[in-house]
């Protein structure tokens, strides 16, 4: 462990800023995925293990649209929307059958979907990794220098996009009728039914929104790297860490936890480069032991 390296970094503006910006970008991409996961859990009570597979689908969908149209924005949006629609079908066909089942049944159902999707994308798009969709041309410019710290404009764009998504999500959840219905469904679906609202529709909508967020995360990830079967498996574990740390079902908790994990990765790479994953799991253990409901979760 190189505590001094960490200390050096914190007192050097260049290091502090670039690692912070890097951590923020990691965290914000993670938030996109984790927010969908925590939303689905909070409202439907389902641990959607297949959320990572939806993220992967987002990457593949956007790759496909990119290769046909060559338009970055269109690729990302249609990747996200495509996964949203896929999520809706998934919810109607499978997930709604296990709303009231044991945790074990939910997990196994989702896990089987991961196994199936991982192989299906290989059958459809081939075994090799695909090259990703790249960064749009406007962002193929020299990076910015802030106090000697280098920050690529595209990262700023990603942070901004994710922040906007977070803000929109906040607005949807607090200001729109749909959001109010969603929050009410999470608390007391039966009362809502008695008020004449078909909560099945709300649930399907929530799952669709959650899938959309996973797809968006996957599509943006495809701009920064290769697209490959099984790419959802590492993001799903990180998303769970975020969800648990933030409090299961809490979107603001997921936001906070995403930043914590982003920073843990970014500064962990300076201090304990060989144990960055271990740091995340350690945080998760500590949170579960000290405050099982998570940083922003509510006690049952």
């Amino acid at each position: 462990m190189e505590i001094f390296a960490l200390f050096d970094c914190i007192i050097t503006p260049a290091c502090l800023i670039s690692q912070t910006a890097g951590g923020l970008k990691i965290g914000m991409l993670l938030f996109l995925v984790a927010s969908g996961l925590t939303l689905v859990f909070g409202v439907l009570g389902v641990i959607n293990f297949a959320h990572g597979a939806l993220y992967m689908l987002g990457a593949y969908f956007s790759w496909q649209v990119m290769s046909i149209t060559g338009h970055f924005g269109l690729a990302v949006i249609s990747g996200a929307i495509g996964v949203g629609i896929f999520g809706l079908i998934f919810e109607r066909l499978l997930i709604n059958k296990v709303y009231n089942s044991d945790l074990l049944v939910q997990i196994l159902l989702c896990y089987s979907v991961i196994l199936i999707l991982d192989d299906l994308v290989m059958i459809i798009w081939g075994d090799e990794f695909l090259s990703g969709i790249g960064v749009p041309e406007v962002f193929q410019v020299p990076p910015l220098f802030i106090f000697d710290a280098i920050i690529p404009p595209f990262h700023i764009a990603i942070i901004v996009i994710s922040m906007i998504v977070a803000l929109l999500l906040w607005i949807i959840m607090t200001k729109t009728k749909f959001g109010k219905l969603v929050r009410a469904t999470a608390v007391n679906p039966r009362m809502l039914e008695a008020l004449g609202i078909n909560t099945n529709v709300i649930k399907a909508g929530v799952f669709m929104l959650g899938s959309f967020l996973a797809g968006l995360g996957g599509a943006l990830a495809a701009s920064l790297g290769s697209v490959v079967s099984g790419m959802g498996n590492s993001i799903i574990i990180e998303s769970f860490i975020v969800t648990v740390i933030g409090g299961m079902g809490s979107i603001s908790g997921a936001f906070l936890a995403s930043i914590i994990i982003g920073m843990a990765r970014s500064f962990g790479a300076v201090a304990m480069p060989l144990f960055t994953d271990g740091i995340m799991f350690l945080i998760m253990v500590l949170v579960l032991v000290m405050k099982p409901e998570g940083l922003m979760g509510k006690k049952k």
């Binding site: 009728k177 109010k180 219905l181 929050r183 009410a184 608390v187 007391n188 039966r190 009362m191 809502l192 039914e193 008695a194 008020l195 004449g196 609202i197 078909n198 909560t199």
Partner: protein
């Protein structure tokens, strides 16, 4: 034709039966008291009508239309308005949002309860508009719960023990509101243990005991009929 008619309802919680061949006939524009001791089956009757518990056999008709196969939300859309005993407001929504969630037109597309009329009817809620419902007092929550159901333009209001656990002065306020609603022509089925409270607002009463309707008549008669009262209501 009766507004609401239930016939031979047998209802269950899990495998324990709570309603036995329950029959009710409710006419329009009226407040009817549903009396009975604790555990007699008043709440279960309401839950059976709204579809919140499992009804194995029987018939529930609203304006002649059979509801027994319908989901809870469909029944609500058909005109069943339910105000549960424990109010069940959404604690993390504001008062205004709670009301917004209940907002719907009746089946004919008519809105008898625009929001302004709600504020008029429940003046106490006006200044609480932006307060979280979870922070309201019991009486305020009760008002909110009633208001939330009313904006949905129900044909009938199932009101479960609105006076329960409330201070007497608040109970009075609620009674006043019910009087007011009666004047506006709302049909209310009012479940109560507290006969005294019913006397103020209702004329007709149905007594249920052990999951069955056992007596129907006017409250005035009941007041005089000590035998029935002792048998089903008193100790």
């Amino acid at each position: 034709m009766d507004l609401l008619e239930t016939k031979s309802i047998n209802a269950f919680y899990g495998n324990s039966q709570v309603l036995f061949e329950m029959n009710l006939n409710i006419k329009k524009n009226n407040i009817i008291a549903l009396l009975g001791r604790n555990g007699a089956g008043k709440s279960s009757t309401f839950k059976a009508i709204t579809g919140l518990i499992n009804v194995k056999s029987g018939s529930i008709k609203l304006k002649g239309e059979e509801l027994i196969k319908q989901s809870t939300s469909k029944r609500a859309l058909a005109g069943i308005g339910y105000v549960p005993e424990d109010r069940q407001v959404f604690p993390e929504h504001t008062v205004e949002e709670n009301i917004e969630l209940g907002k719907k037109k009746n089946l004919n597309g008519i809105d008898n309860w625009p929001i302004d009329k709600i504020w008029e009817t429940f003046p106490i809620l006006v200044k609480l508009k932006n307060r979280l419902a979870g922070q309201l007092s019991g009486g305020e929550q009760q008002m909110l719960s009633i208001a939330r159901t009313l904006v949905g333009n129900p044909e009938i209001l199932l009101l479960d023990e609105p006076s329960e656990g409330l201070a007497p002065i608040i109970v009075e306020d609620i009674a006043k509101i019910l009087e007011n609603l009666k004047k506006l022509g709302v049909t209310i089925l009012l479940a109560e243990q507290n006969m005294h409270f019913c006397m103020e607002v209702a004329k007709e009463a149905i007594i249920i005991d052990k999951g069955k309707a056992v007596w129907t008549g006017s409250l005035n008669d009941l007041q005089k009929d000590t035998k029935t009262r002792d048998k089903y209501l008193a100790i």
